[in-house]
């Protein structure tokens, strides 16, 4: 045994060297491959537990865990119209902080409620899908279609009380304002009622306290199916499978497409690899059964867009929202 004892020494060095070399090679290979989350990810949400993007966050949390990518926690940080939550993500130097953003990130900046600029202060990572708005009346309403409904508004814009949920200047309000504008009605003359949310709009419409609601479609679809409400049109570019009898506003001759999208955002300063890494993770997440079920639960559209496309989309969306909100007198004076 002793005879051989000297032999392994040089080979040990050799092995070590080879090991080191392979390690170095390995790291460079990983760096080229892609960045991946390597510790617990914090998913930050600007609404309380149970709210719209909270549901998306918790679905994403499940997808990330199931696919073995990483464990994550959901952090609810309400305040300043989402500004506090997105501001928290924005300043992080660590890619393990992401946020779920919806239309509010735009409208709250335009109105001056939030200082966070959605176009420059955060990095859009992926577009994960959207949900359209439904214009609905009670089934005993005299208005059988959107044309009759808008005709009545042409006669007297303030003759119908329309609820747009909780968000003055948000997508629900935008949808009905754009419909009115299509027929030359000043959207400021509409009688808009604000409730604490979509659920309250539903009870008030069913109870006959208001004439119509412009509300994300998940609020109206079950009642359309049960026959208690009639959806006049949807602001998507194609019909929803859950209610195939409902036309889009576009089909009815109103050039209005308005959706509430879900975009995953990351900190302001991310490297290209980190963005690419998140894109890969989120593209898979978008195609997962859990995410598809979430989209299906609101009869939404689960289309995916990568970071660059999302950035372009947001720019366009911001400009559109700003124009409309300025006209409604809701944009911050500059």
């Amino acid at each position: 045994m002793k005879k051989h004892s000297k032999l392994p020494v040089p080979s040990m060095a050799l092995i070590t060297a080879a090991f080191m070399a392979s390690l170095a090679l390995g790291t460079s290979a990983i760096a080229q491959e892609a960045w991946k989350p390597s510790k617990t990810v914090e998913i930050v949400v600007g609404s309380a537990a149970g709210g719209g993007n909270d549901k998306s966050a918790r679905a994403l949390q499940k997808v990330l865990s199931e696919s073995g990518v990483t464990e994550s926690v959901v952090l609810n940080k309400t305040g300043a119209g989402g500004g506090l939550a997105y501001g928290y993500v924005s300043q992080k130097k660590d890619p393990h902080f992401i946020g779920i953003a919806q239309g509010g990130i735009m409208s709250n900046h335009i109105s001056g409620r939030s200082e966070l600029d959605p176009l420059t202060d955060v990095t859009p990572l992926s577009y994960m899908g959207n949900e359209a708005v439904a214009i609905a009346v009670r089934s005993d309403s005299p208005y059988k279609n959107i044309t009759e409904f808008v005709e009545q508004l042409t006669k007297d814009p303030a003759s119908l009380a329309i609820s747009v949920g909780s968000d003055r200047g948000g997508v629900n309000h935008g949808a009905v304002a754009l419909l009115a504008k299509e027929r030359g009605i000043n959207p400021n003359q509409l009688k808009i009622v604000i409730f604490s949310g979509g659920a309250e709009s539903v009870t008030n419409l069913l109870g006959g306290h208001i004439d119509a609601m412009s509300q994300l479609q998940n609020n109206a679809i079950p009642h359309h199916q049960s026959g208690a409400m009639r959806i006049l049109c949807l602001t998507s570019d194609q019909r929803a499978q859950a209610v195939p009898d409902v036309p889009t506003c576009k089909e009815e001759g109103f050039d209005v497409v308005m959706t509430n999208w879900t975009v995953v955002i990351g900190p302001k300063s991310l490297t290209e690899e980190q963005v690419k890494g998140w894109e890969a993770v989120l593209r898979d997440a978008n195609a997962s059964p859990t995410w598809k079920a979430l989209i299906e639960s609101v009869a939404g559209d689960g289309r995916y867009m990568d970071s660059a496309t999302t950035r372009e989309f947001l720019k366009e969306d911001y400009a559109q929202a700003k124009d409309l909100m300025t006209e409604l007198g809701l944009a911050k004076k500059q």
Partner: protein, 499 residues
């Protein structure tokens, strides 16, 4: 007949061993969460959602609902023992519950809370089983004008029960209403009184106010008492549980509380809180000795505690039949339904009878479990009173801090809570009642919003408040309470001018 079969079938689902187990986990967690001030059931349920994915939809919903109604049981415990309501619906319990504890009847106060919650909860489930669908139509007749009148009734009740000095009660209410105006105004989108602080844009969370004025304020005044050495030590006196006399006094309040709670709970909105206020004032006006209220009347604990539990079950009605959540916690429950691909609403009873009745019937079992869980726990919880204040109060402060920080993870809100603690201390020193302020914070914004919604719909005409029978009846009720209160105060003033 079909419907009856479905209900019976629901029992076979909810009595399966694994579902019994999830009912138990739910109600146990609910009790624990209800005890901790600040950490509400909605946050706890949301945290639990990721762990529910592997369960069947019925089991998961049974567990989450258990947290929801279980938390109502626990809410009374901190109200009675340390004068800190964990939720807005337990504010009324603190008034007489804490006074009972000071008289040595903490055990009885907790026992009647548990029994009241059990009876109220169970009655409400029976009512839910029978009346869910027809009641939905009644709930829909409440629009903005009707809600405003209901809030007005609740605020009138609050004002009428403020005891000796209406002026002080009014002051407390007004300060509460002022606090409720902070934040973004829903109707115009304008930000009010935020003083440039981003955290104030969403308004001041009720929990911050309640933990501040009750918990922190209590600690501060106990500290002051210690320095002036006027502090009295709370002891237990007599039988730990209810005496025959206390049972007799509680029977009617519990019966009325069940009814009031369920009916008010069916209305989406601040159901359980309003129910507890209405129940308290009904009990006070029906009592043989109304002067005992505020000084430890068991009726003042039995009624509201029964009513808030019945109401939390009642608010399952709009959730199940309309898909409309009445509160933060039912919103999370709605989210859980949707996550499992089940849409609560008009078609739920037809499409998923197994889930609905499995869930509803599990609540009977859950309430029995809660009673069996809570009665023995009283022996442990009352021991809290024997903890030296030097130890107990730091623990209260730690719990309060954790609870407040857990809401939004904002340091600012901790300072805000401390400021409300100072306000609570000042109120105590000046003998101004705390409950009207706290309740005005909860109801103020709802009241304002429904008033302005009604004004928008009517185009600015006040006549909308007299358009429906519901709002006319509520208006008459409001005036009656007001006249009754003033009349009674003046009579009492004449009889006993010294007070």
């Amino acid at each position: 007949m079909d419907a009856l079969l479905q209900v019976i079938d629901g029992f076979s689902i909810s009595l399966q061993p694994h579902n019994l187990w999830y009912t138990f986990i739910g109600v146990f967690m609910g009790t624990v969460i209800g005890v901790l001030p600040g950490i509400g059931p909605s946050a706890a349920m949301a945290l639990l959602i990721p762990f529910c994915y592997d369960l069947s939809s019925t089991s998961a919903l049974i567990m989450m609902a258990g947290i929801y109604y279980g938390a109502q049981y626990g809410g009374a415990i901190t109200s009675v023992l340390i004068n800190t309501p964990g939720e807005s619906s337990s504010v009324m319990t603190a008034i007489d519950g804490y006074q009972m504890a000071r008289k040595g009847r903490a055990g009885a106060a907790l026992a009647i809370s548990a029994w009241g919650s059990f009876i109220g909860g169970t009655t409400a489930i029976i009512a839910l089983t029978i009346f869910a669908v027809p009641l939905t139509t009644a709930a829909l007749s409440f629009g903005p004008p009707e809600y405003f009148m209901l809030m007005l009734v609740a605020m009138t009740c609050v004002f009428s029960l403020t005891g000796s000095s209406p002026a002080k009660g009014m002051l407390s209410t007004m300060i509460g209403l002022a606090i409720a105006t902070v934040g973004t105004d829903l109707q115009s989108g304008q930000i009010r009184y935020s003083f440039g602080v981003p955290a104030l844009q969403e308004g001041i969370d009720f929990i911050i106010v309640v933990v501040g004025v009750f918990a922190v304020g209590e600690v501060l005044s106990a500290l002051a008492e210690k320095f002036q050495s006027t502090g009295d030590i709370i002891k237990l006196d007599g039988k730990l549980m209810l005496t025959r006399e206390e049972w007799k006094r509680s029977a009617k309040p519990v019966a009325r509380g069940s009814l009031i709670g369920f009916l008010v709970g069916v209305l989406p909105g601040a159901g359980a809180t309003i129910a507890s206020i209405v129940s308290y004032s009904v009990e006070k006006s029906n009592a043989k000795h109304p002067e005992e209220f505020g000084k430890g009347a068991i009726e003042g604990v039995a009624g509201p505690e029964t009513a808030n539990n019945a109401a939390s079950t009642g608010s399952m009605v709009p959730l199940l039949t309309l898909g409309v959540p009445g509160s933060g916690s039912t919103a999370v429950l709605l989210g859980a339904f949707i996550m499992f691909g089940i849409q609560p609403g008009p078609l739920l009873f037809q499409n998923h009878p197994d889930v609905v009745w499995g869930l509803v019937n599990s609540m009977y079992v859950g309430n029995v479990m809660l009673l069996l869980l809570n009665l023995p726990l009283i022996f442990i919880f009352v021991r809290l009173l024997y903890i030296p204040k030097g130890l107990l109060f730091p623990i209260v402060l730690v719990l309060a801090t954790i609870g407040i920080f857990a809401i939004n993870n904002l340091e600012f809100e901790l300072f805000l809570c401390l400021a409300f603690g100072l306000l609570g201390f000042v109120f105590r020193k000046l003998d101004i009642p705390l409950a009207p302020m706290v309740l005005a914070v909860v109801l103020g914004s709802l009241m304002e919003q429904s008033f302005r919604q009604a004004m928008t719909i009517s185009g600015g005409s006040l006549s909308i408040f007299l358009h429906s029978m519901v709002s006319i009846s509520l208006a008459i009720l409001c005036v009656t309470i007001l006249v009754f209160t003033i009349f009674k105060t003046s009579i009492r003033g004449r009889r006993a001018p010294a007070t």
